[in-house]
Symmetry: C2
Subunit: 329 residues, 2 copies
């Protein structure tokens, strides 16, 4: 059946059933009213919006709709992870052509709901309208666990720069899927999963806050590009030692020299980059459920931005940069 | 200059300047971080998202970009008005073709900011991406003033149904602009202004709460369609006396018999429909800064939905229904 046959309200009823009715006492009004309403006694409220456009951010040719749902919700929750916050609720704004299959829309919503459930984040509102292509806009509403949050403007010279997880897998997965590259089944599975089913670093973000970290960002736009945001807002510069980057071995094995570029500017890695003292990072390494790797340090220079150096300290100049919309690379 | 020349981050910097930096102490993090962050000790948090698609919800051929900005922000705030809430912040997600003029985007943002300022609602975040047409998605974050909010599920049999303001002007304005209809200058001004520069009924929504009203909705999708939502969620029916509808005289004078249909199902009226006892409505009439008119009553029937009757109590059957996306009327 097509979306145009079931209609906006029919579709909303169907999607509301998939989203389910959250049972937490704090939620006062979910899907179906003019606005969602909830109670919160958290010190700090958080909200972030991300939009995903068909053939720009995702393509049904590459990823089934349920995977698109998972991925878009994961990317949205990642922003709350980068604040060290607790995601609570999501509003999903869908725009789609009238001839979209209802089964595709329900699959999309199932994917979002599945990932949301893993992080106790319920879809409590949104809207549906018609458009020439599918556009998904997800607002995540969250809160701080304690009084502190992670920002982009608090990095200080002398702090070490660290990242969670392994790098390059998301972008490598995208390259594999779009280029129809053939790898051995195990590698293909790792890369496909990294691109389609990322897990936002929610608990890791909260862990950073609990150890006194002040500064973090998620590096889904590319490590260099996102680190530049920290430099700009903290009025500092950063030096990255490329040999210390935790590039995923599967990416190295299958992409050779290209692996470094994927890790530095490929984007699609839903990892956290943060800055802190050596001592704090050592403690976090012991406590974190994922690898944590120091990759460089913050330096006192307002203008240099991000500098890459090799193992001998010599400047290293890669091609590419973080994904920026509109400017063709 | 085109959006593709200035780039995503250049555009964000430009738009952040237009939005300005709110000075309220509760705002912790505005535009430029992974998420916005603020403090709130309100009993209830509110959030709502609305999306507006070029050539579906707006057209640059009909309305200048600054007007589109005003209108989309007004429509978004209207959802908070319908909850009786206080809007606080907005997140704006913009998707646009790379060849969009930067001047058009800044005009759009100026319009949003101007309307937002009238209601002390600052844009504190969002994102920008590329898309085949312009898509504007606005999340409004608000809170309740006291403990109560207005919902759609609390209408009770015997309550009167009332609306704020005059009806039919928004839809009439749209018809005038799309059909290039010629009216006398005064009428043209009224209709154009109603369509392009609606004011959300923020203070009126809060007034309803303060007088003990429990049930309201905004009727921007059309009076009948939106009243049906109240009937469905409250499990009641509604009877509207068409002769009591406060159709705007300018609409009656220029659209003749069509005026009633515009008022009933044309949509685009950012008015509040609410239910309450006769006594409460009389008090609200005296206190409200706008006309308040009783147009019918809630009846104890789960299935009848919305019935229209004429002055003699006879059933009246209009053409059309509230705007529903996908289903062609």
């Amino acid at each position: 059946m097509k979306a145009s046959e079931i209609g906006e309200f029919g579709l909303i009823d169907l999607l509301a059933k998939i989203a389910g009715t959250p049972t937490n006492k704090e939620l006062l009004i979910g899907i179906g009213d003019d606005a969602a309403a909830w109670q919160s006694d958290a010190p700090t409220q958080l909200a972030s919006v991300d939009s995903f456009i068909q053939d720009v951010h995702f393509s049904p040719d590459i990823a089934p709709w349920e995977d698109v749902g998972w991925k878009t919700m994961a990317a949205s929750l990642s922003d709350i992870a980068a604040m060290g916050g607790v995601p609570r609720y999501a509003l999903v704004s869908l725009a789609l052509p009238g001839d979209t299959e209802v089964d595709d829309v329900t699959a999309l919503y199932r994917g979002m709901t599945r990932l949301g459930q893993e992080f106790e984040t319920a879809i409590i509102g949104g809207n549906i309208s018609s458009a020439p292509v599918v556009i998904i806009s997800i607002t995540v509403l969250g809160s701080s666990r304690g009084k502190s949050i992670l920002t982009r403007s608090t990095a200080r010279p002398g702090e070490q720069i660290a990242v969670s997880g392994r790098l390059g897998t998301g972008a490598a997965g995208l390259k594999m899927l779009t280029g129809k590259l053939q790898f051995d089944p195990e590698a293909a599975h790792v890369l496909r999963d990294a691109f389609l089913h990322p897990y936002p670093r929610i608990s890791e973000g909260q862990l950073l806050v609990s150890y006194g970290v002040k500064t973090a960002i998620d590096i889904s736009d590319g490590l260099i590009s996102d680190l530049k945001q920290i430099c700009k807002q903290s009025q500092v510069s950063a030096r990255i030692e490329i040999d210390r980057l935790p590039v995923e071995p599967t990416v190295k094995a299958n992409f050779g020299e290209k692996a470094l570029e994927l890790a530095l500017s490929g984007g699609e890695d839903y990892e956290l980059l943060f800055t802190a003292s050596t001592d704090i990072i050592e403690e976090i390494k012991r406590a974190a459920p994922c690898p944590v790797t120091v990759i460089g340090e913050i330096i006192a220079d307002k203008k240099k931005g991000v500098t890459l150096v090799d193992s001998e300290g010599k400047p290293f100049n890669p091609g590419g940069a973080g994904w920026e919309h509109f400017i063709t690379r």
